[in-house]
C-alpha cells in the first residue's frame, strides 16, 4: 500500500487535478505542489474563480454553448448574422471556429455525434432544437461543421434529412489538404477528397 506523503486536503487536490485532461498522477502532484507554494497568487484566486464559474456557468438555451449568461454572448450579440447557423459537435469546436474568426453566423452545439458503439442516438443530441430554429424562419444557410469522421458525417446526413423542408440551404465543410500538409504523408481518402473538391487557381 502506498503511504500518503501529504495531508488529506492536498491528496484530495491531487486526485481531482489528476482527473483533468492531459494530467496524470505525477503531473497532478506537480501542479498541486505549485498551487500550494503560490497559495496567495494562484491557489486562492483559482479556487474563487472555480467557485464563481460553478455557480454561474450554464448551457445556453438557444444554442447549447456554455456561458455565464443565457442566451450566451454569441447568441446575444446583435452584430451576428441571424441567417447562418453553424452546427458543431462540441463547445470546443465552437471555440476553435471563434478563435479562427471564420464566421459571423450563429452557432448550434449538438453535444456529440451519433455513435452506436457508445449508445448515442439522435434523442441524446441537441437536434430537435436545431430543427426548431431552422423551421422558425429567417435562416438561409446551415453549415454542418462536424468532424470529418464516419460518425460525424453520419450525424451530418441525419441532420440533413431532418432539415429537409426547412427551406434553408445545408452546406458542410470542405475536406482536403490541411495548411502545412505534405501530400506524401496524407491518407488516401483525404487525397482523393482533395482532388475531387479541387478549385480553379
Amino acid at each position: 500500500m502506498t503511504q500518503s506523503i501529504a495531508g488529506p486536503e492536498i491528496e484530495r487536490l491531487i486526485q481531482l487535478l489528476a482527473r483533468l485532461p492531459g494530467l496524470g498522477p505525477r503531473s497532478a502532484r506537480r501542479a498541486a505542489l505549485h498551487l500550494v507554494k503560490k497559495k496567495d497568487t494562484l491557489l486562492e484566486p483559482l479556487a474563487k474563480a472555480a467557485t464563481e464559474a460553478a455557480a454561474n456557468v450554464r448551457l445556453c438555451s438557444v444554442c447549447g454553448n456554455v456561458d455565464s449568461r443565457d442566451p450566451c454572448s454569441v447568441c446575444a450579440d446583435p452584430r451576428r448574422d441571424d441567417t447562418i447557423i453553424v452546427v458543431v459537435e462540441d463547445v470546443a469546436d465552437l471555440w476553435a471556429l471563434e478563435r479562427a474568426a471564420a464566421t459571423r453566423g450563429r452557432y448550434h452545439v449538438l453535444g456529440g455525434s451519433l455513435s452506436p458503439l457508445d449508445g448515442i442516438g439522435p434523442e441524446d443530441l441537441n437536434i430537435a432544437t436545431l430543427v426548431g430554429r431552422a423551421n422558425g424562419g429567417g435562416v438561409s444557410e446551415i453549415i454542418l461543421a462536424v468532424n470529418a469522421t464516419v460518425e460525424g458525417q453520419t450525424t451530418a446526413h441525419y441532420i440533413t434529412d431532418r432539415l429537409a423542408g426547412s427551406g434553408a440551404k445545408v452546406t458542410r465543410l470542405a475536406h482536403g489538404v490541411p495548411v502545412g500538409g505534405e501530400l506524401d504523408y496524407l491518407d488516401d481518402g483525404t487525397l482523393a477528397a482533395a482532388i475531387k473538391s479541387r478549385t480553379p487557381f
Partner: protein
Amino acid sequence: MEWTAQAIVIGTRRHGETSTILEVMAREKGRHLGLVRGGRSRRLRPVLQPGNTLRVTWRARLDEHLGAFTVEPLRERAAGLMDTAAATFGIQLAGAHLRLLPERDPHPRLFDALAVIVDTFDDKAVAAELMARFELLLLDELGVGLDLSRCAATGEETGLAYVSPKTGRAVSRAAGMPYDNRLLKLPPFLIDRRHGEPPSPADLESGFRLTGYFLDRHIFEPRGLDPGEARAGFLRAVLPDPVLPDAGPSIELPG
C-alpha cells in the same frame, strides 16, 4: 498471444487522452476489440475510421485480455464513404449488425459479405440489395435463419413468393395467395442469386421488411435492444419512400 490478420474497421471508441479502443471484423477471428496506443494521434485518426481495411497485429499476455493492436492501413476508403448518406449509414448499420455477434466468434461468410458491401456503397441499388442479403445471412449466422429452400405447405421448390411470419419458412405463390395480407412477401432477389435484373424498389422494401421483421422478433425484442437510427437512415437513403418494417399477424400453415 499474438496473431496478424486483415480486418475491416467497424467502430472506435476513445480511451483516455491518447488511445482508442478499436473494433474490427476479421475473417478468422470474428469481431475483435483491442487497444491502439496513440490511436487519437493525427496520423492514426484517419486510419482508424469505419470501413477501412487494415492489417492488424493483436498482442496480449493472456487470451482473455483486451490486448493491443498495431495497425497498418491496406485500403483507406472512409473518406469516400463520408460522401453519401447511403455509405455513412450503411457502414454504421453493418457495424451495428456485427455487434449482435459474440466477440471473437469467427463468421467468415459475414466478413466476406462485409468486404464486398463496403466497396459498393456508391451504387445505392446494389448496396441495398447486398445489405438485405447481409441481414438474411446475419439471421442465419445468429442461428435463426429463414428456410427459403421450399414451400412449407406444398414442398415445392419453385414459385416461392411469401414467408410465414410465424415459422420463417417460405410459402409458394399458389399456397400463400389466400393469405396474401397475412404473409411477408419474399422478393425474388433473396432466393435467386443469378437474376439478371436489379431488384425493384418495391422488392427491396419487401426484402428489408422481411429481414427487419425477423431481426425484431428474434434479436432486438428478446435482447431488449433498439434497432437504432442507422437502419432507418440507410433505408431512407436507398429506398425512394421507405416504410419501416412492422410486425404483422402470424398464421398457422400446414406442413
